[in-house]
Symmetry: C2
Amino acid sequence: MARVWNFSAGPSALPINVLKKAQEQMVEYPGAGMSVMEMSHRSKSFTEIITTAEANLRSLMNIPDSYKVLFLQGGASSQFAMVPLNLLAEGETADYINTGRWSTMAIKEGQKLRYAQVIASSEDENFSYIPKITKSDCTPGAKYLHFTENNTIYGTTFYSVPETDARIVTDMSSSILSREVDVNQYDLIYAGAQKNMGPAGVTVVIVREELLGMADSSVPTMFNYQTHAEKDSLFNTPPTFGIYMLGLVCEELMNMGGLAEVERINRAKAELLYNTIDESDLFSGTVRVEDRSITNIPFVLPTDELNAAFIAEATDRGIANIKGHRSVGGMRASIYNGVPMEGVAFLVDFMKEFEKKNK
Amino acid sequence: MARVWNFSAGPSALPINVLKKAQEQMVEYPGAGMSVMEMSHRSKSFTEIITTAEANLRSLMNIPDSYKVLFLQGGASSQFAMVPLNLLAEGETADYINTGRWSTMAIKEGQKLRYAQVIASSEDENFSYIPKITKSDCTPGAKYLHFTENNTIYGTTFYSVPETDARIVTDMSSSILSREVDVNQYDLIYAGAQKNMGPAGVTVVIVREELLGMADSSVPTMFNYQTHAEKDSLFNTPPTFGIYMLGLVCEELMNMGGLAEVERINRAKAELLYNTIDESDLFSGTVRVEDRSITNIPFVLPTDELNAAFIAEATDRGIANIKGHRSVGGMRASIYNGVPMEGVAFLVDFMKEFEKKNK
């Protein structure tokens, strides 16, 4: 079976060059005489790998020296707990914007462990837009404002950081490395690697150093950012192979010309797909135009039967994981960095063919 | 550079057949048209992978149906917190035996988060033996007894479960799958995968179902065993590639004849090395004979100069990661399942040659 075009929302397609390099080095990493998976995390070879991965990520995102980059485990779901446990003392408040399932999970965990206040939500229209807030919507004295930059399920994106006097915390799991951002606008960014950065099992946290060391003694050692910051992510054995893969992905993006060029390609991919949807009489988008994501693009057909037929025929053609999340229905194309323009063009050609046949 | 013999304490050598199979399937997993790393964790292909990994582990260890097998993240270090947070209410006590660095870490975390009582320790002789306890040493009403079955740094092993009326909780990170154990003797077993089961980033928990659901609402959702048990380790995206590798390692051990045969080989490897040490006038062991580990074998030479010379010459010969932990000094050979008899024989030959030259 040949490789398919994989539109999975995560874990998702990885750049083919990265997979081929990992394959080549699987049994013997150059100069080490062993697989990356077999290396001690304290070894010279792995020290180079993790140092390079961090340097590559810092270079790509232009991360200032005043921020720590942590490679953790447990996914964004662990960050839903770590953020309030590290940044809020008992009795302090944080503001949250609810833009979908993952925001809702972050809010639930914030409310379970500390005090999380929902100041805006787009639930009224099935999360199909990004609520606009001003400072007057924020809770006075709130320690941070949390939002999900890109909503994987609903296909919406915050293209600007909301106005607030609080610290800015964002879940960037499905948009990190898809476009240029100014890290200085954020106080803490977290992201699971498995969408746009590498395999599942690595979570990146980019945090201003001044926010470290605030957790009280009731916080488990492994859930305290300071634990990992002090030891450069080597307090305990990190997910070594995942970090290696993340380093390779970053290297590939640097070779492509860095995030400016990656963003140009991603915008072109998204534009091709959105134009196809907008020009179609059969397909339609589900998201307010100005809030449309460039990484996750949901679209629907007029009937459940047509949606089902599209998904079945697409799968037969080698278009994998195109089914939309049940909360939205229809289809969703996740077109992260691992899906090249060629894959989007293949999908668009099939959409046009399907429309011709079914109009 | 050819593959070296890798005696790393963890992450450590993996069976070469497993690495080759992973290499072969890296870009296209059979029938899936994509890498395992690119698969949705909800996909049919990955469901088969995780189901098979669990079935293989259950089969190898003969795990009864009354136990849940969880694939988590965060390493044994996260278990140091999860065990007390899940099994102890405020005010309840657990007993701990201190047999080295990792026990000490587990105790510190237990004391930080709940009430952990140290009832025995071998710190008086640099953790070179396993303290023997009887029921009279245990705290009346203690909810569980925690011990580190195999002490990676010091090379000691509990070959029988200590006597207690409390539940039995053990860190099996460096001994799991090295020999047959009767899972019924334990209430909760945890182990990081990166020594004997696969790559870093997967933590296995084997827990009696009746111990689930005891955590109170202050426990972070991701640190509650029940969260993961209810969703068969798919509450959030698991470390998919690591679970796949763990499944391949288990399959390899089953092909070798299961744990009885694996144990026979591991005992023969350990015997060869211990005999070499015991028959030598130059090398000596550091551990009380009856407590010697079959997976981690520390040994020393009479002077620091000789230790340094041995390590340097061994490295030149392709014997990697043979340096002992600074707490013991000298050398340590970690001879997990990934190190075949051939590797141990190579090390022993070099030891004899070194002794001849330096006597």
